[in-house]
Structure formats: structure tokens, C-alpha cells
Symmetry: C2
Subunit: 317 residues, 2 copies
């Protein structure tokens, strides 16, 4: 049985702090329609797709709250859900989640072609700091504005429209952590969706890494972790100059060999499509990365036993 | 204090089954001397550097045993140790180990500039099979000829000649397993040495992956895992057509950004040098990959709890 479906990466250009939500939704719907016209049945949007990357600012609670979704969907994002359902397109989208208990997460959901929410993920690897960095024009306050995700890295069965793919989700910085990919790989994941907002060099701030190097890093980790887990991956940026800060692009669709099959060439709204042949996962999953035959968990204990790096003891000390 | 030293990758061309050990040693000493002339104080040789890659053949015990070292050093390999000590060069070298208890391992050692053995590693991720594949011209019988390494992935303090680097060792297929790199990263490893013998497409056999794709995979995993653990890496092939089988090249020296700073361009004996500035590890180890700040081991439990991949339960089943 063929297990192929056409998927799209919907890279978004910047969303400024002052942009109306309706404007952002319209851009997302446009990307959805363009992808549908090219035959895609699944679309991956970025992390925090409905707002600016607000953790770059120190905000008080009244400014903060409007960036969060209290339920999903909700009236403000409903037009995206409605249009996707009309087009019979499923999607991944990242958003800031505020629970009824007042907990805040950097979350993503997987939505089926019938509009049902198949699964939710809450970002585990929050970068940045709780306290603002003195003297920095831009902050990275994810550790202040979000709780650490504690749902693990769940993978989800999907429907025949997506070849019954097993799909997992990561968010931004998670893609640099091989543990996250491996937990997905250990669930037979065939497609990993990753939305991100990654800063490049800030010509005004000065301490960041340059955008070309950051873009190289982003592709490198997606390609290698896709290969090492024999899975497809779709990595999607919010890109460009947002509120004066630079975000890298580099959105790409990567096959289970770690090869880029499609990639973005702009820092704006841009969609890429590729045919996701899930059978291409089998070569890796059955041979080189046949985990049952080759993994040795008894030799990996340190991965759980320690959080931080500790140098080996010196001889004789 | 500067913590920089010059290291070399000593790629080796093929070593045929019939080659005299003395001839192979002479080639290794030549590479050592060339590297020394270029100022290198540390040289990385391949996996199973003293012999052909004998696991490609089904051998009886009498044929098998001559490929193993019963102690290290021993009279046959002593000339390499002697010359390295004269030149005050340390090295990594891979070899087949036969212990006094009759256990067999695919091993490597780290040798200091004074000739002392600083550390030993025994390959954990043995590829291939115990039983020969019927109808294959070439076998991959590492699971038949070696025990699984059970020393974990130890990292070793070294001496001022190597900037007091903390050095770890992997062997061949290990480089495709992020768990191995992470255990080294969790020990503050600053340089990972990897020797390998990796088959490329066999034009006579037909079922392998093509050499260009395999070379891409080899570099990809070294680059990404070096980056994700903020360590230098030196990956070194035995390359070319050995006993009629094709081995990829692609030896490279990779910095903690995952960038290749030097790479091989042949499939023969070839050495590459690079200045290893250990301070370059700090950016990653202190910020992006500050494990203490960002790792979440409670979310990684599946990495130890299961060996094989298991699909998530179906809803309602």
C-alpha cells in the first residue's frame, strides 16, 4: 500500500507586536490556500505562530496575557480551523497556552483534516532565562513566561489522508536536543514537525551568533536527527526582522536520509511542499537504526543519572 | 591560558588481507612522521587500523585469531609506539582485542606523548549480524567476532601537550548513535576521536547504499553530534577498495560549531591537520548547551526504559 501524502512547510515572515490578530490569521490562511492549491494535505506552521516572539520583551502581566490562547481553538483563531477543515487539510501550529489553572506553556497542536485536535505537545527545552539580562536590547525570557512541558514527547497515530503516519512534535530549541528526537524515534515516529523562532545576529545588540551560522546549525540538527531516527522532518521558521530583532529562516523538509528535499529561500511568508513517502523510513528503521538489534540502553545510564556535565575524576584524586 | 594543540587525522587507504603487518606499520609511521613535520602532537588513526576489515569475511578460528592483539602494545605494533614516543606524539588507534580470558572486542586506545596508554574504549554499537547473510559476497560479522563493549563511554583527562583536553573515543558505527556522544558530552568532553571502516556501494554486490550518500551520512552525524555536545571531533576512515570491497573516505576534523575545518580528498593514505582550540567549546557548553540549565532528564526516561521502537497505542484500543 502506498503511504505517501503531500505536506507543506508554511514559513512566516515577521509578525510585529502591533499587528492585528486578524491580519496574521489572514496570512496563515493565505499560506494554507497556496499549499492546498499545490496539493498539500498537511501544513506545518511556526512556533508561536499567532503572535510576535514576545519572550524577547520584559512585559508586565497585562501586556503578557494577550499573547496566550485560553483554549484551542478559540474565536480569534477559528478562521484558520474553519478554512483548513473546508480544504480538508491538517496542520501543526505553535502557540502560547494559558490553562484554566493559570499555567503557561509554549505549546503546539496537531490538527486532523476534519478539524479535530489529534494531539498536543508542550515545549520541554525552554531556552533563555527567568530574569532579564541587564543591558540587552532583546531578552530571551522563555524560562520566565512558560512552565517546562511535562507531557514528554508523545507521538500520534494519524489518519489515512496522511498515510496513517505516526507524527511527533518538537518546538524550536527542542530540535537541538537529540534526547527529544530519540524519544520520538522510540515510538516509530515517521514525521517530526518543528516550528521555531530563532534569533540570528543582532547588529544592534552585538552578542548573538551570526544568522548564517545559526541557519547552518538549524538545518544540521534537523538533518542529522531525522537521519539518526529514520524519520521525515519538517522544520518551519518565523523569519525576518520582527520588532527590530532578526530571526533566521531556513525552513526545510528533510527525508529519512537527512537530505533536504525542499527549503526556503526568503525570510518572508513562503511555502514549500514535498511528497512524504513514509516507506522511505523503512531502510533506516529496519537496518542501520534497527533499535532492537543495535541499541544498548545499559550503556546510556548517564543520560538519566546526571543533568549537568561533570568532568571525569582525575587519576589518583 | 591558551589551550590549543595541533592534531592530525591519519586516514589510511586499504589494507589487503595479504598485506604484511610490517608494511601496514610502515605506512602508519609514515603518516605519523608527516603529521609531526606539520607540527601535530596528536594523531587519530582508523578503526581496526592494523588489519583489513576482516568482519567482511566468514573466517574459521585459525584464520580469525591473527587479526587480534593479545596485548597492547606488543612486538608487532611496537615500532609505532616507539616512533610516536620519539616524536612526542600521542595517538588514538583502533584494533581487535583478544583478552587473556578469550573475550574479543573492537577496541581503541588513547596513547599519551610519553607512550603511556591513557585510556581504552570497547565499541558498544556493533553493527551487522552473528550469522552470515546467505548469498552476500561481503559479510558484516561484527556481532559474531566481538562482544559488546561494556566500559560505557569513558572520557579521559590528558596532559598539557594536549591543552589538558578531556578526550573521548568512539568507534565507527557509534558515531551514528547520539546516546554515545551525549554520554561523552556529559563528561565535559572537548575532543571525540572516531575511527571507522564504512562500506559504500558495492558495484558487484548491489544491495548497499551508495558511497556518496554514506559519506554524507558520516560527516552529518559527526558534525551534528559535535555541535550538540560542543566538542571538537576527529573522524578518520580506512578507505578505498579493500579485499575487493569499497570503503568510504570522508575523514574530517570538525569544530564545536559542527563546521568542518579540514577534510580528506582521497581514498588513500592522507593526513589532515588542524589547530584544536579548546576554548571554542565554551560558547556551546556555557550557553546553548549548558546542560545544567536546559536538560530535562525526567522527560527522557524512554531512552533507558525501552530498547526497541514501539508505536504509540491506538486511541481506544
Amino acid at each position: 500500500m502506498p503511504r505517501t501524502f503531500r505536506a507543506a512547510a508554511a514559513q512566516m515572515g515577521p509578525t510585529q507586536m502591533g499587528d492585528a490578530r486578524s491580519h496574521t490569521l489572514q496570512r496563515m490562511i493565505q499560506l494554507l490556500e497556496n499549499a492546498a492549491r499545490d496539493g498539500a494535505v498537511f501544513v506545518v506552521f511556526p512556533e508561536l505562530a499567532f503572535t510576535t516572539f514576545f519572550p524577547r520583551w520584559l512585559l508586565d502581566n497585562s501586556e503578557l496575557d494577550r499573547h496566550y490562547e485560553r483554549e484551542m481553538p478559540n474565536p480569534e483563531v477559528q478562521p484558520l480551523f474553519d478554512r483548513a477543515k473546508e480544504l480538508k487539510i491538517g496542520f501543526y501550529v505553535g502557540y502560547a497556552e494559558l490553562t484554566s489553572d493559570g499555567e503557561r506553556y509554549n505549546s503546539s497542536i496537531l490538527v486532523g483534516p476534519d478539524g479535530t485536535i489529534i494531539g498536543k505537545y508542550r515545549k520541554v527545552h525552554l531556552p533563555g532565562s527567568v530574569e532579564p539580562r541587564q543591558g540587552s536590547r532583546f531578552q530571551q525570557l522563555e524560562k520566565r513566561y512558560f512552565e517546562y512541558g511535562s507531557l514528554g514527547f508523545p507521538a500520534f497515530h494519524t489518519s489515512p489522508e496522511f498515510g496513517n503516519a505516526i507524527i511527533g512534535m518538537l518546538i524550536c530549541n527542542d530540535r537541538r536536543w537529540p534526547e527529544a528526537w530519540r524519544v520520538l524515534g522510540l515510538q516509530e515516529t515517521e514525521l517530526v514537525c518543528v516550528g521555531y523562532n530563532s534569533a540570528g545576529y543582532d547588529p544592534n545588540g552585538g552578542s548573538g551568533e551570526d544568522a548564517a551560522l545559526r541557519t547552518f546549525h538549524s538545518k544540521l540538527v534537523v538533518q542529522a536527527n531525522a537521519y539518526m531516527n529514520a524519520t521525515w522532518a519538517i522544520a518551519v521558521a518565523k523569519a525576518g526582522t520582527e520588532d527590530g530583532a532578526c530571526l533566521i529562516g531556513g525552513s526545510c523538509i528533510v527525508d529519512p536520509n537527512g537530505l533536504i528535499v525542499s527549503e526556503a529561500h526568503t525570510l518572508g511568508d513562503e511555502f514549500l511542499v514535498a511528497d512524504i513517502d513514509l516507506h522511505l523510513c523503512r531502510q533506516g528503521k529496519d537496518k542501520m537504526f534497527n533499535f532492537e538489534a543495535h541499541r544498548r540502553p545499559d550503556q546510556y545510564r548517564m543520560i538519566l543519572e546526571r543533568t549537568k556535565a561533570i568532568a571525569p575524576k582525575m587519576e589518583g584524586v
